[in-house]
């Protein structure tokens, strides 16, 4: 076990736990307005203070974690479900028109930063968490397709794959039974990284109003609300920002830690 892995797992679980607990318990109702108690700095009653409507920031952060995690997780799911089969197919049919078609198609998608996809989708269908998920998800597809293809290509040259072919297994079966399990580690690590990028992207999109819409709490929107009040209530901007940083840092450390842990070569090199 390495330090990155432990610290990353601890930070990530903390955020995940906050999100899960928020379904059954938050210190206050996250949507309850309490104008007389507005803009309180952190104190014994409101651990993270209150916002301009007197809503409890701690409860909002907990519920906001749900939005961030849900958006980023589904977006990674979209990227994996569509990208991995593409990468596997392209690798299995290396050099064919299908390989060329899949990878050039992915190159085009790769030229659209997730923000640009979000702008395009929002311009047509309006803003919302679902459209943010789709935008980040589409951005993830070529990432997984490329990683899968790259890793699978070298596997296809290996002898155990040749053995599987000789035993009469088809391309699809070899991809599923032999290639996929051998690239899984890599994909899990990349999944963690895309997850953290997804959290950042969701925060950015909801900050500019292209993500989750009120009343759904989201960290990015909390920051957008805080912007005009940052001079007299800095905790409104500090706390959601720290929440984002802790989550992204945790996931990045977890990704680094997993990579080192899952890759025997690095483990040996470190020892």
């Amino acid at each position: 076990m390495n330090r990155n892995l432990i610290l990353g797992a601890a930070l990530s679980s903390l955020v995940l736990l906050a999100a899960l607990v928020s379904f059954v318990w938050t210190p206050f109702n996250h949507a309850a307005l309490d104008i007389p108690a507005k803009l309180q700095p952190p104190n014994a009653q409101h651990w993270f203070g209150t916002d301009h409507f007197g809503r409890d920031m701690f409860s909002m952060i907990m519920v906001g974690a749900r939005t961030s995690i849900a958006v980023a997780l589904v977006a990674v799911g979209i990227g994996m479900v569509l990208g991995i089969p593409m990468g596997l197919t392209a690798a299995a049919r290396k050099g064919s028109w299908l390989d060329e078609f899949i990878m050039r198609g992915n190159d085009v998608v790769f030229a659209f930063p997730s923000l640009v996809i979000a702008i395009l989708i929002t311009a047509v269908f309006g803003a919302g968490a679902i459209n943010a998920i789709i935008a980040i998800g589409i951005f993830n597809i070529p990432v997984f397709a490329r990683i899968t293809r790259g890793a699978a290509l070298s596997l296809w040259e290996r002898e155990f794959i040749l053995a599987a072919r000789v035993s009469g297994k088809g391309i699809a079966r070899i991809s599923a039974e032999h290639i996929l399990p051998n690239v899984a580690n890599l994909l899990i690590v990349q999944g963690t990284i895309q997850f953290s990028l997804g959290i950042l992207a969701e925060a950015g999109l909801s900050y500019v109003g292209l993500g989750a819409q009120p009343p759904t709490p989201s960290w990015g929107r909390m920051l957008a609300d805080a912007q005009t009040m940052v001079s007299f209530a800095p905790h409104l901007a500090l706390i959601p920002g720290v929440a984002i940083i802790v989550t992204v840092l945790g996931l990045n450390l977890l990704g680094d830690g997993l990579r080192d842990w899952l890759d025997p070569r690095i483990r040996v090199a470190r020892a």
């Binding site: 050039r104 659209f112 930063p113 923000l115 311009a123 950015g204 500090l238 984002i244 940083i245 990045n252």
Partner: protein
Amino acid sequence: MLRYALKRLLSLTLSLAVASVVIFAVIEVAPGDPASFMLGVNAQADTLAALRAELGLDVSKVERYFNWVGGMLVGDFGTSYTYRTPVSQMIADRLWVSLPLALYALTLSTLIAFPAGIYAAARRGKPGDVAVMGATQLGIAVPNFWFAMMLVLVFAINLRWFNAGGFAGWEDGVWTGLHSLTLPAIALALPQAAILARVMRSALLDILAEDFMRTARAKGLSRRQALWRHGVRNALIPVLTIIGLQFSFLLAGSIIIEQVFYLPGLGRLVFQAISARDLIVVESVVMLLVFAVIMVNFLVDLAYAAVDPRLRSRT
């Protein structure tokens, strides 16, 4: 090299063509007709028809696509539905903010990342390296728009060194313009610098393990001399690639940062256009950003192939 360049050029053209079809198709799905949106529900049928003709909406979709693409090729991006001014003019005005901002941020990120990455690589495993790597890990995790808000809080509101937002323009001199872009550029540069410093470090560590580095030391060069004369120069190749790729991300990233500082750049333009349903502006700005990404990738590929001949044979 020429063969490789031509092949890449063909794939560049193809990518641009596909991207333009995708963008056009997505925008076409948008419900509602811009002309009736502009004139309101009580518009007369003949006024509506006249406006549709004026905006070029009265022809088939295929024809409109080719009009749009053909127009862009000669710098005509159409006419804004809301402002009735040429879109190309609007974009050009805004580019005078967004482009310098992206370049400024790129310069800053390079200036921060190079020394940090080289320092960390030279002290691999020592406290200095651990500190720099820890800082970059944090830099990657910080959302740039949040960092921007913190910069405003400290340097604009408390210390009053900069304005909290707005753009002074270039009329009063380059310095005034740059001054109002400084905080946005720092905010934009930080996460990129963190990534770049890590790339610089790992590229340099790869080079330091090469035989020619040992030869350089054996020739009698000190560690420092070998690092600077042979190490850094060779590590620059992968680093330059990342810098190229970062530029397009900076251009897109500036869209969010412009919101924090109320800068009249491409980002503001595109968000105003979204709320006004000025889809032709959205379409053109998105196409321009995608063009920038594809173009920069193409140039990076070419530069890479020029430096490293082995890459030319690879497809």
